[in-house]
């Protein structure tokens, strides 16, 4: 559904391209995960999808239609994006914040949706934050805030969900619940495109992984294709082994203590 086709993105005055000829596809019914070290260009892809960065070349297509030619509102009706960071200057009750997700579907004079609006209520339920509905956004923990943001994206509806590091502040249970939710959404037919640092979780839940390294695709394919020690070691520049998740046999990465004479912070 979302296709990056030989996308190149160059920041002004930067020598190297932040994204260099990246091609990837996030189809319906699958979880597609973009992974990679800090600064590898993961978030740049999301910003490009939000049209906050111009493409130097290549194109991004939504069901074959050039993103640049589409109305922003139309795109927002079909693709919900949860950006990496967000803070509110003026706090809102949680349900009102979630209701803002309906914005792309409403005319400028439409009445704001109520707490009982079916889409809003269902989004609160699916993100399991019904109990927070009347709390203020400035009274939430980091994990709660993250789930509230997901709920807003769910209220947005649409056929695709794009998330940039959605589990950064979540504890294990909430993190797992989040990935289970994403897998369920994909199973229901949504295209889920995920940017994440959590290689092991991604390897268990994603259908396709794309490993970015300095703006290039270093590896892409099934988790088994990408989660190979030789590939990951060279990209992350750290010794590691790849083992198996004992339950479902998905590849799992285990970084090793550095026993060599090299300092851990020294790049080879």
């Amino acid at each position: 559904m979302i296709d990056f086709d030989r996308v190149v993105i160059r920041y002004p005055r930067a020598s190297a391209a932040a994204i260099d000829t990246v091609t990837l596809a996030a189809p319906r019914g699958a979880v597609t995960a973009v992974v990679g070290p800090n600064g590898s260009g993961k978030s740049t892809l999301v910003r490009a999808l939000l049209r906050l960065l111009p493409l130097s070349s290549g194109r991004i297509a939504i069901d074959g239609a050039d993103l640049a030619q589409l109305e922003r509102r139309t795109v927002a009706q079909r693709i919900a994006v949860v950006a990496q960071r967000e803070s509110l200057v003026f706090p809102l009750p949680v349900w009102e914040y979630v209701a803002l997700g309906r914005h792309p579907h409403e005319g400028p004079w439409a009445a704001a949706p109520s707490r009982t609006d079916a889409t809003v209520a269902s989004a609160l339920d699916r993100a399991e934050i019904g109990a927070l509905a009347h709390r203020s956004t400035d009274e939430l923990s980091g994990g709660e805030w993250q789930r509230v943001r997901i709920a807003r994206a769910l209220a947005q509806g649409g056929e695709a969900l794009v998330l940039d590091e959605p589990t950064t502040f979540l504890d294990i249970a909430h993190e797992m619940a989040m990935f289970e939710l994403l897998a369920r959404l994909a199973h229901e037919g949504m295209a889920v495109l995920l940017v994440s640092h959590q290689l092991n979780l991604v390897a268990r839940f994603a259908d396709t992984m794309i490993l970015l390294h300095r703006g290039h695709v270093a590896a892409a394919g099934t988790p088994a294709d990408v989660m190979r020690a030789s590939v990951l070691e060279s990209v992350y520049e750290w010794p590691l082994v790849v083992t198996r998740d004992p339950a479902i046999g998905a590849p799992a990465l285990l970084p090793l203590r550095n026993r060599g004479p090299r300092s851990p912070f020294q790049t080879p």
């Binding site: 922003r72 949860v82 009750p93 914005h103 400028p108 947005q156």
Partner: protein, 329 residues
């Protein structure tokens, strides 16, 4: 009690208070009138002298104050939301500076006609907006509200310097006029001024209400706004421009009345209003009441002298600004 009922009771109460303050403002003056006489005189009934005082002097003054407050309140509410800045208000964006340069230039040149002054101040304000936008764009922060705000402050500082240069050689009388105007006043209100300001406030207000849902989204930040289909850079520019023109109109009509745009949106938020459509509408009402009340205070404080209206609002606004500043840090 349902939320809707509570809200309508609350806003009926606020509207009633604004109405009572406006009647009090019309009743008070060199010839004190009672409230019943004021209401009758507005309808054209009663003693002809009273009718003349009310209809040609006090009513236009009160209506002008209401309009100035409504305009500044709405502009402040829109700017704070769109710029994601609890301290934003029309005066921080260089609009006042630009308008002041325009007006002072006109005064210094001896052009103080009813049409020239507002036109000159519009021109100055528009120029200031354009420069602020260009400065923000040149620094690469087109979509960064902080850069825009900083650009506005810089333009304001430049405008202050320009005013000092303009006034350095002006005759004492012109300086006095310019100073009085720069401190804000609704003292020489006439129906002509009230008429054109009403058009601007109605038009600007309607546009801001139309953009209100976008402002809700812009308040979430650039990335979330983009995710919800709002072109943050373009939308915030439009809102900035409308709010700036709205405040320039109030500046042209009544001079510089500071801090109303800062204080009023916070007051409305403290009544539990979060979304920008009710916030902007509420800010119009509360702003109107606040400026009428401030004008009443300006006349009551040291009779028979009148304090400058802008001085009264600043005395109220500066402690409020510090309070907000403390809350931010």
């Amino acid at each position: 009690m349902s939320a809707a009922l509570r809200a309508s009771l609350l806003w009926s109460g606020v509207a009633l208070v604004v109405l009572l303050v406006a009647i009090a403002a019309i009743a008070y003056g060199a010839v004190p009138l009672d409230a019943r006489a004021v209401v009758h005189a507005i309808g054209g009934r009663g003693d002809p002298v009273t009718v003349a005082i009310v209809r040609t002097l006090r009513l236009p003054r009160a209506v002008l104050a209401l309009l100035v407050g409504a305009g500044l309140g709405m502009a402040g509410a829109a700017l704070q939301g769109a710029l994601r800045n609890a301290l934003a208000e029309p005066y921080l964006l260089g609009v006042s500076g630009g308008a002041a340069v325009g007006a002072v230039a006109a005064v210094a040149l001896g052009a103080t006609g009813a049409f020239v002054l507002p036109l000159a101040s519009f021109a100055g304000a528009t120029l200031a907006i354009a420069v602020a936008l260009l400065v923000a764009r040149a620094s690469g922060g087109r979509a960064d509200p902080r850069v825009l705000l900083m650009a506005g402050v810089i333009v304001g500082a430049f405008a202050n310097a320009a005013i000092m240069v303009l006034l350095s050689n002006a005759p004492p009388n012109a300086i006095r006029n310019a100073l009085w105007w720069m401190m804000g006043s609704v003292g020489d209100a006439g129906w002509l001024t009230v008429g054109w300001l009403a058009v601007y406030v109605a038009l600007g207000g309607a546009l801001l209400l139309w953009f209100a849902r976008d402002i809700d989204i812009l308040a979430l930040g650039e990335e979330s706004a983009a995710a919800l289909g709002v072109d943050a850079a373009r939308s915030s520019r439009s809102i900035f421009l409308i709010a700036a023109l709205l405040s320039a109109a109030t500046v042209a009509a009544a001079g510089l009345v500071g801090f109303v745009g800062l204080v009023v949106p916070h007051l409305v938020r403290s009544l539990g209003v979060r979304r920008h459509r009710p916030l902007i509408a509420g800010a119009a009402l509360v702003g109107a009441g606040l400026v009428v009340a401030a004008d009443l205070v300006a006349r009551l404080a040291r009779p028979p002298a009148e304090l400058p209206l802008g001085a009264v609002t600043a005395l109220l606004g500066v402690p409020f600004f510090l309070l907000q500043l403390r809350r931010l840090s």
